[in-house]
Symmetry: C2
Subunit: 342 residues, 2 copies
C-alpha cells in the first residue's frame, strides 16, 4: 500500500504502520559514502541528479514507506546572504553569522523557485522516479534556522541567539518573520514541484522554556503553519528535547508531531490528544544495539502506539553514521510484520 | 546568616533564600581570565593555591551563600589511566578513550587522597579562608564520567557510550561500578578535608530515556548515594535536560534535586514532592538579557518557589562566559531582597 504513510498522517486506517527514518539517506549507507568521496555535501544538495540519487538510495535498500528529499536545512541561508560550508564531521560553519540589527536588516528576501531552483528540480524528478511512494519535503523552522545564522554553527547554550532574543527583541522578531516567510515559500515551492507531505524541523527549540517559546517563537511558527495549511498536504512538526514544550508545539501547528525518544510515546500522545498523529520515537542509538535488544525497543514503541490510527514509525532523531544498514532493515521488517492488520 | 545554604538544603527555615551559581568561578570574571592568561585550566585545578584563589574570586565579588571548589569533573579520569587535556574553547579531549572491555579492564583504581591530594589540600585551605561560608565539593556521576571516557569529549548523540551500554552491558556495568566507587571515595575525601555539602553532576544523563536510566544507570547512582548518606552532609543531585527523568533521579538519591530551566520550578517540585529540596532554575542565558527582563525571570523563579523551605536559588546550568558580572550581582541582590523574611 503506497499511501500508508499519507493515510497515517491523516489518522486513517492503514494495512501496516508506515515507517521512514530521518537521515535515511546518509553516511551509514555505503552507497552514500561512495558518492561523498567524490562530491561535497553542498554539491550533493545543489546538483539535482545527485540529490535524486541520494534520495533514492534508501528507497532501493529498504522497504521504507516514504522518501525524504536529500537536502539541508541551511540551504535557504545562502540566498539570504550568509556564506556557509560543512567542515570535518559535517558540522556547518557560517562565515558571516548575524551579530546585530544591521546584519539582519541586510538579509535579502529571495524567490526560492529561482535561488533554490535545484531543490525543486530534484523534487520534480523524484516524483517520476518514486512511482507513487510519497515524497516528503522539509525546511527548518525560524528558531532553528536563526540559531545557525546567529551562532554560526551548532551551539551548546544558544547564548548568542538568546542574547538577541532578549536583548534586541524587535530584531529577533524581524529575523523570525523573515525566516518564517522564507520557510513558507520554500515549502510551498516544494509542494508545487511534487512534495506530498512536509516536515518542519525545529530541532533545537527544546533549549527554550515554555514561556520564552510562547512569547518569542510560537507566533512565528503558528503563522508558518497557517500559511502551509492551504497547501493541503500533511504537515509534520518535529523538535528534539522538547517534551516540556509538547502542548505548545501542538498549538503552533502540524497534523503530526514528531517526538524524540526521551518521553514514552504513549505519554506524549496522551498529552497531545488523539486528534493529533504522532511520529517516532525509537532512540537512534538503539540501532547500535544487538538485534535482540533493538527489536525489544521497536516492540516497546509499537506497544505504546497500540496500533491506533495516526502513528508513523520513525526514530527520535536522525540515523547515526555508525548505524549498521542491517539494523535499519531489521526495524522496517519488524514494524511491518508486527503491525500487519487483517 | 552563614548557614542559610545548608539550612535550605535540609528544608529548614531561612532568613533569605540562599543563592550560588554553578561555574560561579569562571571565564565571565576578569580576575579569572587574568589568571588563565598565565595558567592552563588543569594547572589551576592541580595547584592548590591557584584553585583556592579561583574558588574565592566569586566569594569576594558577590554575596553568594556558598563557595564551590574550583575543580573539574574529569580529574579522576587521570589516575584511572586516561590522558586528557582541555583544548581551545576549553572542551576536554581524551587522548586514549575507552573502546572495549580490555580498555575498561585496564583502568586502575586509585586512592584519591593520594592521586588527587591537591584537591583535598585546596579544600582544607578553603575551610580556613571561607570563615564559615559553606564549601561545596563535587564529582561527576558514573554516566556522565563514562560518557567523557568513552566519547573522548563532548558528544551530541552519545553513540559510543550507548553502543557499549547496549552491546556490552557487562562491561558497561563494570565501568559504572568502578566510576561510582571512584566518585564515592573522591567525595568522601572532600568531606573529610572540609567540604560541607556535595553536588553530584550527572549533567548529560538526560540523553537517556527512563527505561534505560532505570536499567543501566540508576543502580549505580543509587549505590553511590547510599555510600554518601553516612557522611552526614547535604547531597545535591543535578542533571540537565532530564525533566523526563525527575522521579527516577529522586529515587536514585539526593536531598536536593538540581533542576535545569526547561521545566517550571513549581511543576518540577510538585513531581518530586515537598520532602525534597530543589535547586535552580534560572536559564543561564537570562543573564545575557537586559536587567529588567533578567529580574522578571528571577522573580518568576522565586514566585514558583513560593518561599517554601527547601529552595536553593541557582542557574539551570553553569554561568556562560559572555555573562556580565553586573548581571550576576543583580541576581544575588534580587534573590536576597525579594526573599527577606521577618
Amino acid at each position: 500500500m503506497r499511501d500508508r504513510f499519507l493515510r497515517a498522517c491523516r489518522r486513517e486506517p492503514v494495512d501496516r504502520t508506515p515507517v521512514w527514518f530521518m537521515r535515511q539517506a546518509g553516511r551509514y549507507m555505503p552507497e552514500y559514502r561512495a558518492l561523498r568521496e567524490k562530491h561535497g555535501l553542498l554539491e550533493l544538495c545543489r546538483t539535482p541528479e545527485l540529490a535524486v540519487e541520494v534520495t533514492l538510495q534508501p528507497v532501493r535498500a529498504l522497504e521504507v514507506d516514504a522518501a525524504i528529499l536529500f537536502s539541508d536545512l541551511l540551504l535557504p541561508l545562502g540566498p539570504l546572504g550568509l556564506r556557509f560550508d560543512f567542515h570535518s564531521g559535517e558540522g556547518p560553519v557560517v562565515e558571516n553569522p548575524l551579530r546585530d540589527a544591521a546584519d539582519v536588516a541586510a538579509l535579502r528576501p529571495f524567490e526560492p523557485r529561482e535561488a533554490l531552483g535545484y531543490v525543486m528540480e530534484a523534487v520534480r524528478t523524484l516524483r517520476g522516479e518514486l512511482a507513487g511512494l510519497p515524497l516528503i519535503g522539509f525546511a527548518g523552522a525560524p528558531f532553528t534556522l536563526a540559531s545557525y545564522a546567529i551562532e554560526g554553527g551548532h551551539s551548546a547554550s544558544f547564548a548568542r541567539t538568546k542574547a538577541m532574543m532578549y536583548g534586541d527583541t524587535a530584531t529577533w522578531h524581524r529575523l523570525c518573520a523573515l525566516l518564517a516567510d522564507v520557510c513558507a515559500e520554500h515549502l510551498r515551492a516544494q509542494v508545487e514541484a511534487g512534495a506530498e507531505a512536509l516536515q518542519v524541523f525545529d530541532s533545537w527549540v527544546g533549549a527554550l522554556d515554555a514561556a520564552d517559546y510562547e512569547e518569542l517563537v510560537r507566533p512565528h511558527v503558528a503563522g508558518l503553519f497557517a500559511r502551509l495549511r492551504p497547501l493541503g498536504v500533511p504537515l509534520i512538526h518535529f523538535a528534539t528535547g522538547a517534551s516540556h514544550l509538547l502542548t505548545s508545539l501542538r498549538r503552533a501547528g502540524g497534523d503530526v508531531i514528531g517526538l524524540d525518544w526521551r518521553q514514552p510515546l504513549d505519554e506524549a500522545w496522551a498529552l497531545l490528544g488523539q486528534d493529533t498523529a504522532v511520529q517516532g520515537n525509537l532512540d537512534p542509538t538503539a540501532l547500535l544495539a544487538p538485534t535482540a535488544r533493538l527489536l525489544r525497543r521497536v516492540d516497546d514503541v509499537l506497544r505504546r502506539a497500540g496500533n491506533r490510527p495516526g502513528h508513523v514509525f520513525n526514530l527520535g532523531h536522525g540515523v547515526l553514521p555508525p548505524t549498521p544498514v542491517e539494523s535499519v532493515r531489521a526495524v522496517v521488517e519488524r514494524v511491518h510484520a508486527a503491525t500487519a492488520r487483517q
